[in-house]
Amino acid sequence: MTLNRRSFIQQSAAASFAGALSLPSWAAVATIKYGGSPWLGHYPAHLAMAEGYLKEVGITQDWQSFATSSARMSAFMSGGVDIGCAGIVSALALMSRGAKQFAIIAIPENFGRVEGLVARKGIDSVADLKGKKIGVTFASSTHLLVLDVLEQAGIKPGEADVLNIPGPELHGAIKTGQIDAAAAWTPHFDNILREPGVKLLADDSQFSLYKSFKVTPGPDVLLVRREFAAKNGDLVKRYLSAYFKASDLLREQPEKASQALLKFTGLTMKEQMSAVTGSDWYPQAQQKELLTGEFVQGLQKLAEMLVKHKQIDKAPVVKDWIDASFV
Amino acid sequence: MNAQHKGPMISIQGIAKHYGDFKALERVDLEIEKGEFVVLLGASGCGKSTLLNLVTGFDKPTAGRIVVNGREVNKVDPHCGMVFQQYALFPWLTVLDNVAFGLKMKGIAKAERLQVARRFIDMVGLQGFEDKYPNALSGGMRQRVSIARVLANDPDVILLDEPFAALDAMTRQVLQDELLQIYEKSKKTIIFITHSIDEALLLSTRMLIMSARPGRVVTDIRNDLPMPRNAQVQLSPRYNELKGQIWDTVQSEVMRSLQATRH
């Protein structure tokens, strides 16, 4: 069907007129693109959608899946997602290059107990890792954890073999003895710990910055695309209200939340409960404090640590990306 | 020379070759004695090449059998050396290596086979060209290499399928002379295919005129012209007599096959 310009304008005018008449403006259903994955950082966003909280505030969430943080960050850069949870490391990498396309608007959770460094039988401490092979997914939170605990144990770069292995492969690699230790996050972390003879060498609580700033090696942050937020400020605020309603559910009714997540994550009930209860779900009330206080200083120190370990070239000024106006 | 059994060198018994309905050869019976230079003469499609392919073992007959030097032909045999019209030289080998090829296949040591090869390269008048590749040679030279290659293998029979057809008249004449000299020196049995009546008269001791539809031997003529077949012989009355005889036979066969195709 060919449209000439006149008929196109006529039809658009008719549609918007009808649209304006039928619904009050705030209740017009708006769409927001969310970049997610089965990782626990996305639980609030998923639950807000599954439990209907977003629908209540007139928002349709368009869920886009990304397997890696860097892929999600690329989508932020190109406009493919409007909002999403991301690991801070990828965000810091872009921030250090001066990318201003996104802002940090909330801190979803703290998952310090669901990742760590596990070693095969015979290795009892981090110091024993000298000359051994360690598998970890590069540019992730566990990567920085490994670099940090190795440094704390006095092992110089090059004295241990740190290899890049994607998350799902780590279990197989350590099981078959191809690597001596693996740093992973849930659920791979839990699977590896179930192997006979393995020992947990360190989790996030051994991370040097955790001890001082309560910052894990790669906390999750909720990001929004600045351009989108500038045009849809009200929408973002409504979104966050539904979002934190889901966070409250995770914190206060873990069984109900886990049940609702099973289909999404494909985990067993036991694994799901472990992931939900193993994280601290921050409420909306705490956000202002997190976004302006010690936590941000901790993020800055994290950036400097990444520079020290040659992961990024220079440390960005983290607070330039914080936007606490939506919470 | 391979052990000679008593009896004809080549015995073609009741040979037929059909491709579906097409009768390329039908009822061919003939015997060729050792040392004969037999020329197969005839228009296109009369089965000359087909017969040669059956003798070398490239094809199998639909009926009948062929016996060469006491052995029945059922696979490709180096005892019948073939010289192809398109030369079939191995382009990646030098002249020397091409000529030595058959000897290499027999497992003869390098020094010895190169020495033998050089001898035959000299025989065909190509000394100095041993290290050249075929694409640097003219058509006539390539055919000489081809002949030398076959000779070096010392076959019982040499088969040539219109070997000089692609060459210019002067080169052809030179090569015909050389072939006759080789024939006289080596006393090999030779089967030679040609379209040209003059070439047949020049080279053969015996001429078999063939005809198509079905392919068969129509006339078997003994060539009693004296050797060497110099200019005098070529201008003699006997030459013209033979030529006229052949001409008539070939002409009528050509007319017949032309009429057949008009249907």
Binding site: T68, E169, G172, A173, D313 | F90, Y133, A136
Partner: protein
């Protein structure tokens, strides 16, 4: 001479325009870094000694995988090209292997070979083997059957025909096909270096991508392209020597 100068000038102009566009701030450097950034990174890597290990690691993996694949494909392909029964037996296996991208072999190769260089070679091998076989078999079909007849007529048995006629006769087509396979081997190396690698150009690009160091990505790509061109050049020298009879 004038043609070569035109090409060189064109390349320099392209680089100059690229640099100018970046300097003028027309493009965010994350999306397109200037060539000077890539060069700067190269200089830094030369300084701390990390430049050559990456290139040599990838080149080594490409060469060994490629040579292994071709060393098996040439004789096997010639054999399959000449024997219809052998081909009937092998064709289903080849048809199954051919569409598989080299990345799909990573999990199995890790199980079989562990985290070793052999595992990397195997990825390159698996990516190159089936296409190489296809090229070789195709090349054997284009050998002039008259040459085969001539060889048989001169006393060559089946194996001699394969070695003395089919192999040299198909070599020209095989070599031109293998230039393509060499390029394919590089894509395989990039895939192989995504997992369990510490160095290599593929690793360099992947690592740069994770940290959004786009100039590292660009540098990696340039290095791959240059290395391929250089190996291409040597390949052509070898090809000219092997096919010197063609003049």
């Amino acid at each position: 001479m004038a043609l070569a100068a035109t090409s060189a000038a064109s390349v320099l102009l392209f680089i100059a325009v690229w640099e100018a566009v970046c300097r003028a701030g027309l493009v965010d450097p994350i999306f397109l870094p200037p060539p000077s950034a890539a060069l700067g990174k190269a200089a830094a890597m030369l300084g701390d000694g990390t430049f050559w290990p990456h290139i040599l690691a990838s080149a080594r993996r490409v060469m060994i995988g490629f040579l292994a694949a071709t060393a098996v494909a040439i004789p096997l392909g010639i054999f399959l090209g000449t024997s219809s029964y052998a081909r009937a037996a092998f064709d289903p296996i080849l048809s199954f292997l051919r569409p598989l991208p080299s990345m799909s072999w990573i999990p199995l190769s890790l199980l079989w070979f562990g985290i070793t260089e052999t595992q990397k070679y195997s990825i390159v091998f698996m990516g190159c083997f089936a296409p190489a076989m296809v090229y070789v078999i195709e090349a054997t079909r284009n050998v002039d059957p008259l040459l085969v007849r001539a060889a048989q007529n001169l006393g060559a048995n089946r194996w001699q025909v394969m070695k003395e006629v089919i192999l040299p006769g198909s070599l020209s087509q095989i070599l031109s096909g293998f230039k393509v396979i060499l390029g394919l081997a590089w894509t395989c190396v990039i895939a192989a270096e995504l997992v369990a690698a510490r160095e290599g150009l593929g690793f360099l690009i992947m690592n740069g991508k994770e940290f959004f160091q786009t100039e590292v990505v660009v540098l990696g790509m340039v290095l791959i392209s240059t290395t391929v061109l250089i190996t291409d050049f040597f390949f052509r020298l070898i090809e000219n020597w092997v096919l010197r009879w063609k003049q």
